[in-house]
Symmetry: D3
């Protein structure tokens, strides 16, 4: 499998040595047939309404990724037995200019989708997802959205503006990028502005399992609800780091107490392994608020779980 060797990480050096790409994957942009996924940095944070600085997240998560191994205990799979991948580098965003940056994201990811490669975006604030969804929907049509997040990001506008990290999923719905009947939002919580704003997802037709309900039904049943809701449609999986409790992930834009442990996050991700993921992202990590790399290490592991989902599905289809 010589092509795979080209597109898998090298682990000869000690974990603290070498140029930091994600899991030491080759940093190339020409995607061969055996490139199943591409890690893509999206260092854009102009959409942030509170803390800011996720522009440095791709660097920090790449740095934290170097000690990752390739075997997933929970799924019983060695990911590079099934997948080839690259670190594509970063999209050339323009700080301060959201619409232009969304276009840059969309254009770049479209190139990746053309080769049937799954892009895994590393944000950036959550506003980047609009660019990602545009590229994915151009290829697949409206996608089933699976969102892990403590906020729904479905406001209509922020201070009179349409494009912002808290309005981004409403924009995606406006643009018909999301297949509402096969989408789900998990983990909404926090104290919020009003009952009306809290209900935006419902008003827009997005099914939501807030944290309160997840705590009642447990992780396993939550997974079942996700899988049932989404079914077999092409999926966009978006993971906002503030879904995790800030004790486990302090370096995020809008920390919300009462969140999930990393163990619960692992259970949830492994529990939706049957989904047909076409694109994914991990957003809202702000390294300068992190603590001993805790958030970045968690982020790198979450991305590893995303890759494992791809590997598991490919393996189970081929098996």
């Amino acid at each position: 499998m010589h092509i795979m060797e080209k597109y898998s990480p090298e682990h000869d050096d000690p974990s603290f040595a070498s140029i930091r790409t994600f899991m030491r994957l080759p940093n190339i942009r020409s995607l061969g047939d055996d490139v199943d996924f591409a890690i893509v940095g999206l260092p854009f944070d102009t959409g942030s309404s509170g803390r800011i600085g996720s522009r440095f997240a791709p660097e920090a998560i790449r740095s934290a990724s170097v000690s990752l191994g390739s075997y997933n205990i929970g799924l019983g799979i060695s990911i590079f037995d099934h997948l080839g991948g690259v670190d594509y580098g970063d999209v050339k965003v323009v700080p301060g200019f959201i619409e232009e940056s969304l276009k840059a994201i969309s254009d770049t990811l479209s190139l990746i989708h053309q080769t049937n490669t799954v892009p895994i975006g590393i944000g950036g604030d959550h506003s980047v997802v609009l660019g990602e969804l545009r590229a994915a929907a151009q290829k697949y049509g409206p996608l089933g959205l699976v969102l892990f997040d403590s906020h729904h990001d479905c406001w209509d506008s922020y201070q009179g503006h349409k494009y912002f990290h808290s309005t981004i999923f409403r924009r995606a719905i406006d643009e018909n990028l999301i297949d509402l009947s096969h989408s789900i939002m998990c983990g909404l919580r926090g104290n919020v502005y009003s009952l009306r704003s809290w209900s935006y997802p419902t008003q827009l037709g997005v099914y939501s399992i807030p944290t309160l309900v997840m705590r009642q039904i447990g992780m396993k049943q939550t997974c079942e609800e996700i899988v049932n809701r989404v079914g077999n449609v092409p999926v966009f999986l978006s993971f906002d780091m503030d879904f995790i409790d800030p004790a486990y992930a302090p370096g995020v834009g809008t920390p919300e107490i009462g969140g999930f442990t990393t163990w619960e996050a692992l259970e949830l991700l492994r529990g939706i392994r049957e989904l047909d993921i076409k694109a994914a992202d991990l957003v809202e990590v702000i390294p300068v608020y992190d603590n001993s790399q805790l958030t970045s290490i968690t982020a790198a592991n979450i991305i590893f779980e995303m890759l494992s989902l791809l590997a598991w599905r490919k393996s189970s289809r081929n098996g």
Copy 2:
């Protein structure tokens, strides 16, 4: 409801802008009829026997409060539909002089109680509670104490001195400020000096559910025990931040491992919504030991839950 408008927060600015009052409430000291609660800083930390620096907690918690919304998902209530409030500023304590400072606290809070406003104190170390209890008892007589804390603070003296954060509830009992038969301490834990000192609450007639027992009976039954014990008497609710596990609240004076998650804290507070709270406080946050504002954000949320309890009770009485 134009008076309410005067006593509710302004949210026009982005969360990172404006002078920091608690939730952007008006910073005024003349309390009109519609002022249901007053946030009061109690920046006194001379009572600390270990880490010190809670004098900066009121500032830090006000800063963290600016991103709070006003709708409580768990209780289904928008607090400023029912409550008016102010940020009263800080009591003028005298660092280094505990008795004089307790008097200043008591004098100031008495003024607040006179207008039937509920003072919510932001410590400071736990010694401030004696000043608060004196003011409350002057108005209501001995109160039912509901304490969330990993320490009972019932020592008789510390190095020969009577007034200290670890002796403060014994002083309150000595002064007959607490209605022992309707009081309860929740969450005691840690390794301690002796069986004898561990049993001080029992010796003094205070009912206690230590952490070990809370873990066995769960949060829901703990709430029931609290409500049953306390009943309908006027309540002083005191929340020592070290009740929360230090992973979730590292910035405290005497961290004790094996504590509660923020989710459990939310469950507990929402579960005692029927109590008749006349005064409350949150103490022992030390910002300089905090991590990415985690402790201060948690503290701001706990105070928001306290306000929600006031709103829920007022709403249910009016309803």
Copy 3:
């Protein structure tokens, strides 16, 4: 002088108590005749090309200001004997939208200039200066600019965009807000992109004393050059925190080694006391990169020196 009492700080509380306004000045927006200066927060950082987060600088600098006294040893003057002032709060900027935010800044500051009050802006990144200059020039015509900065911020564009913190003084020149023949830039240094870009100020007609030259001629002669160059025209004084060496001010956007000590900064500011300052700002502090408040404390002191310059000139005119 009862009006002055209204517009000077209150120092009864310990330094760690009370709501944080700058030097505890009253937080009001109606400017009486005796209001000589207004502190104005400009929490806008969308113009940042590297590190970001100066949106939190106004809060941090207000917090650090509470221990400032009012007597300036170097100038032998007690500032509130001569000046009344307020903390105006923050301009309502729109994160992510620079042109709209510049307009908000300009509109607000124009109101302040109308009452002949000197606005002292607390950035934000350096892009805010364009809004400030527009307001000042509307009142006074093109101003003499005195800039302390390690960068000239005179690029024509950044990634194709005109408005950014590194292009901002070229925009000001384009808009004829600066009186080139009475302006000066002090302290340029760092390694730069090219000889051509390094020479932008000269190309635009702005006189510059780079760090290399300042080190050769000393602080005293630098002051003389500034005063000679600027003369008696209305002055805008802009202080970019990265002028100071990052050992003394680590919490800045683009730290440049080989900079000035705080003592040298004090010497420079006191040495230009004869200037007729109509507006001033301090920009580019990023608290989350700060170390034990070092940068914020320095910033608060620099602003105090700016106020002292106003007091000295007023005193010397009246004397």
Copy 4:
């Protein structure tokens, strides 16, 4: 019991005063008959493959220990009623030279074992355990190993070298220091290099309950499995701090998400109180990555629980 007084801590001073020995125990090396345990610093970290710096852990954990009391609530025992102990100081390791350092550790601990004193080692990285096991096995023959760790440390070599923190238990097995039939590894997790490397313990004959299984069967049953497996043989108890989740213990060498809470750790340790512990250690704390002493405080508490196990067993035998 005057001898006991000599070997128990002094608590007259405030917790922040005095020279830092563990729990203020006397710092002596001549072990009398009543010395049941000796705290021994093992500041060796040359075996670290990723983060490094546990050489400073003994100092940090001693510092954090000063606020420990002596009564264990969970076990209902006051440890110094039953035990005398000393802080032996540190073994004189040679940074950079693992085999020489292991010999120094082994030689020193052998002296301690000669007086039937239980050494409690404070690492250092996990490689120190080989020196400890050699000394213990010299006295007791192969020991039952109880390991709490997220890694098995059973690699054969690292970059061609035999002695390293990730190979150390294979070395111990090679040297016949471990009684395989009475040993157990608890808590393995993380993403790993391969199925083959994940299975090393099984291949070597060591019974393992990985985290996944522990989560299914719970803490109580895990304790039963440990006690059943180990039985009455002399035990070496090794606690790698990365067993605890990094939210609770960020300052470790190789943080693995999805770990255990401190409460669970307390339950586990108290649940194996019947074991006959002859030596123990706590390893892999790196203070410079810690957060507000959280990891060191947890470490000090874990060591206190180890001492409590000794006290409980001695008490129950004598009782």
Copy 5:
């Protein structure tokens, strides 16, 4: 010189090993004839009006001292060729109670003075100096004070109270502990409350060389002025860490910008080697505000220079 061996540090271990006493000196309290100096921790910080936490300074400075060597390049002297010394441990202060703590300090230091041993106090905030001066004056009568400090600490009272870190030298003058005609204060600076308060030292008869003057005359002439002023009287040398610029010493109670470099501090201390120092202290270090031990390392070096002064004088007298 076998006695000296008993009272000099042991350097066999690596610098990161062993129990932390100052420079690894023996931790004993019985002072033999050859004990020339005793390091004494004074962990009292109740006198702090701003930041607080110097109670942890003795621990931090002991920790930082372990890498100190014994040869002073600047003075050309190996201190333990001439001096024997011990680490006496800490005085048992009572947090929250200043008068009682000052008495404890005074009582303990009197014992040390009785054996003609020079106590070197490690604060704590500056209020501890009153206890130290009382003990010294009891032995030597009023002493020549040499103070390096950015504040004069000569206020009459603070919020109506006489004993506080900012009033402490006025108290010492009131109690006739200072020989005014042979005393000097160096380095006063900062913005202050008023001309009147700035002039307190002069009003009280204490000679002062403020920072402004020191900058004009240079370090060398400052030393000459100190030596001339003080002459041959018994000296108390007090070094407040905020004398050093906060870039070099961020972990202090009241940082004042525009201060001295560590190199200048070394020059000053070495330049006054002829003085007859009978007692000394270093105060106002707050470790929790420190940065990578920078302040504590500097403090340990300053204390080493103090010891070098003792060694130089003893050597030059014996030579």
Copy 6:
């Protein structure tokens, strides 16, 4: 000059985007004729006797380098007009095994020297210099050493071992890698173990200008002494980050107060531009002790100055 384009950095992306190589240079190992220099990471820190962790320095310094421009104001030169360069990545060192690692360093650098490329090593602790010198001397014979360092690193052994960061230049002398008559050590300072150890360089025949002397003669004359001493021989330039004062570079292994400012470092480096540098390194940065990247940014700038020296000399030879 199309080859040059291949070997110079690309600056299209914002400074916070893209994979981190030094100055965004291409990460390749085949060195064409136009490759004048190669940045080489040497992440080895087993030679550290105190703080440890410089294994992460190459990553941190690469990260900090991304905002460097290419024009050196002080030397008036744009470095990539004259030089081509690559980021070679890291040498595959073996943590814990110094002799093997030194061999790996030497072998790799020999390959680089073969193409007449100047290797610029990024340590790692100072022990790496032995591997670098072996490779350089193999090519050029004994080199003139120019060392900026606060320690001479000329001990004979450390705890009986020959290879350690404090013994490394004695080893180099033993191996005849240094041309003693054309070498110089600048900046020695600190308190040291003895007069004898302080004099090791002199005893070994190495000329030294300690900090004390540099302060007396100034930077300019120091440069002259260096240039005079070294002359035209092939030079190895070694820069230990602790030469810089820890206020400016806190993240180092053994901070020594009383050091040099970054401005002075720039003056020194630019002042020796005539030297014929064949190899260079920057060592002893420990990122985990750094403050807001201050040390890493300084390190990146120092390396940029080294490159500028190469460019200046090449330019002046070609000119």
